[in-house]
């Protein structure tokens, strides 16, 4: 696998290029997009197996020595994220084709989507800090295009907020990256831990905070979250499904890497407070909303808090819990947005006060919503419970009672707001107005939603193997021997 890793980015980019060449033939674009995403999905599964059994894979671009070239590194964490990300991207692409909305027929949809795949994969694999920034830019620019695809009133207003804030995020990130280079003289992520450890405290702190702000804005943590609930609901459902499931997790991934490997134990208290605030503010926002998409968007924020809490707690057990949480959360969140897409397609709205009795119309849809909804609230036996249990156990083990109390309270509030959707939209009398014959959504949409919900159930069923993989992953991420003391791992 000397150069193979590059293909995870190069193949989608070639797809983007082809889509530009075929700008007048959306059918051909679609074929390219499906082929490429399917290909990288299969390849990423193979990579995961390889990495887990054989060991990490490193590719240096241009065949230069690792220290001076841009590298792609696939360790367990990267490979795992790659698999989850690509599977979701592929599923949502098929869903979007089924939905057949105006967006999907736009000649810009396929190239931007493929670039998004490339950017996300690159961000997971990047072994070079500046290259990580570039991959972020790819995925951001692709997301700008996707979010404003229709160019209607709503999308422009919320898109402006999204674009401007993320542009500022980019500026902060590149500043951080530049200063990392200025202080360490390298951009290779493999060399950074040692060199950063040699820096004066204040400088290291500043760098860690700058990176934290940049990635935290991407991940939508308090107080940098406000753009997310304003912008995601305006996007078409398949787009918001990918954004919701994946993009924030890229930020979490970056925080996980930087905080655990580069700045271990630096910002523990800060992160804990941020995590708690993120959870609470997110869930309260969700409770306050009256639109399914907005509720779900606020829950993204709230759930990110759990992941940050795990990162803050630190230690192998906590990181394993975070890894599992991320793996669980991506399909759960995606599937909820997909269900919302089906609802919108059928009913023409996602406003709770205009919805009622959906369960009577389609019991299957009700199940498709209920499973991820309960999972999100952390109820057993769904995957969310395992994730939450991991973080709660570590929190109690480390004696951080208050964060556990916050986490559990927030989880009951999550239940409140998810049940608000359930009692508001799924229960109750079916509406008076004419039912439009059979359900209008395309069978592909339902099939993909089923597939993703089945994935979430699969995550719960195979939580054991996944969790032990997460522990191996966390073990890989353990910072150097000098830094292991102080983080209690059972």
């Amino acid at each position: 696998m000397t150069g193979g890793l590059a293909l995870f980015v190069a193949a989608p980019l070639a797809g983007t290029a082809l889509c530009y060449v075929f700008a007048r033939n959306t059918a051909l674009q679609r074929a390219v997009a499906v082929t490429v995403t399917l290909g990288v999905t299969v390849a990423s599964v193979a990579l995961l197996v390889h990495v887990d059994t054989v060991g990490p894979v490193t590719t240096s671009m241009g065949g230069w020595p690792d220290a001076i070239s841009i590298t792609f590194v696939a360790d367990r964490l990267a490979a795992l994220m790659l698999v989850v990300g690509n599977v979701m991207m592929f599923a949502v692409l098929v869903y979007a084709i089924g939905q057949g909305a105006r967006d999907e027929r736009s000649p810009w949809y396929a190239p931007a989507y493929l670039a998004l795949v490339a950017g996300v994969s690159g961000a997971f694999l990047a072994g070079d800090l500046f290259n990580l920034f570039v991959c972020f830019e790819i995925l951001l620019m692709a997301s700008y295009v996707l979010l404003t695809l229709e160019g209607n009133d709503d999308q422009i207003r919320s898109g402006t907020t999204y674009v401007v804030l993320n542009v500022v995020e980019s500026l902060v990130l590149v500043t951080g990256v530049a200063l990392v280079f200025a202080t360490t003289g390298t951009l290779s992520m493999a060399e950074l831990p040692d060199r950063l450890a040699a820096l004066p405290d204040g400088v290291a702190l500043g760098l860690s905070l700058l990176l934290l702000i940049a990635f935290g804005l991407k991940a939508a943590v308090f107080p940098l979250f406000s753009w997310l609930p304003d912008s995601y609901p305006a996007a078409p459902s398949p787009v918001s499904a990918v954004f919701a499931g994946l993009l924030t997790k890229v930020g979490v991934y970056a925080i996980l890497r930087t905080q655990t490997q580069w700045f271990p134990d630096t910002n523990r208290t800060l992160l804990l407070v941020v995590a708690a605030a993120t959870m609470v503010v997110g869930v309260l926002g969700a409770i306050a909303q009256a639109d399914i998409k907005r509720i779900l968007s606020f829950h993204i924020v709230s759930q990110i808090g759990y992941m940050i809490a795990g990162i803050a707690l630190g230690g192998v057990a906590a990181v394993a819990a975070v890894v599992f949480y991320v793996v669980h959360h991506i399909p759960v969140k995606t599937s909820l947005f997909l269900v919302d897409g089906v609802v919108e397609q059928d009913e023409g709205t996602s406003q709770l006060d205009r919805l009622s009795g959906l369960a009577r119309r389609s019991g299957l849809l009700a199940v498709l919503f209920l499973v991820p909804a309960l999972s999100l609230a952390g109820l057993p036996p769904f995957s969310g419970f395992v994730g939450k249990l991991g973080i709660v156990t570590v929190g109690l083990d480390q004696g951080e009672w208050w964060i556990v109390a916050v986490a559990l309270t927030v989880s009951i509030l999550t239940l409140v707001s998810m049940m608000k959707i359930w009692t508001g939209a799924f229960w109750g009398a079916a509406p008076e107005r004419q039912r439009v014959g059979v359900l209008r959504h395309h069978p592909l949409m339902a099939a993909v939603t089923w597939f993703v919900v089945a994935l979430t159930i699969g995550v719960a069923l195979f939580a054991g193997p996944i969790y032990s993989f997460a522990e191996r992953t966390a073990d890989d991420l353990r910072p150097g021997p000098a830094a292991t003391t102080g983080t209690g791992a059972p």
Partner: protein, 171 residues
């Protein structure tokens, strides 16, 4: 509408610019290939092509921009494809992505020339950047042109006279 870069077309200027276009494009290509050994490179080259296009618009008006020989979007695609392909070809020979190769070629009259595969990559950059600038330009120029043809005041507020907002003063 004194705000618009409206153009008092000078025939001489127009002739000069259109006559110079091929030269300027050649300069751009030269800048691109020179880049490996001196300041320049694909970006600079591509941007020069873009600026040439702007000049043509300023002198010859919209038609000059609209009647491009190729669709800029396809140009973008080709440029990107070229760059990716340069990176991917070494994979076929078991080398790394983007691994460069150097060949010495004897060119008549000039003598031995070092050809570096990364020059192809830079060419891709050049093509793409030219395409992007051209695409943006064409889109805006076309829109501007069309809006002027269907002149009905400001689109956001069809009833109001166009200059209504312009009298507002910044605080």
């Amino acid at each position: 509408m004194n705000a618009r870069p409206t153009v008092t077309r000078s025939t001489i200027l127009s002739l000069t610019v259109s006559g110079l276009t091929p030269v300027l494009v050649l300069v751009a290509v030269f800048v691109t290939f020179r880049g490996h050994n001196a300041p320049g490179g694909g970006f600079a080259g591509g941007l020069i092509v873009g600026i040439v296009l702007v000049l043509r618009y300023l002198t010859d008006g919209t038609d000059a921009v609209r009647r491009l020989p190729v669709d800029p979007i396809v140009v973008i695609g080709v440029g990107l494809l070229l760059a990716v392909a340069t990176g991917a070809v070494p994979l076929l020979f078991g080398s790394s992505f983007l691994e460069s190769a150097i060949w010495k070629v004897d060119v008549p009259l000039i003598g031995s020339v070092k050809v570096v595969s990364s020059a192809v990559f830079d060419l891709g950059v050049f093509v793409l950047v030219s395409g992007v600038v051209a695409a943006i330009l064409v889109a805006l120029v076309e829109a501007d042109d069309e809006a002027r043809r269907g002149e009905t005041g400001e689109p956001g507020d069809p009833g109001a006279p166009g200059d209504a907002d312009r009298t507002e003063v910044d605080r």
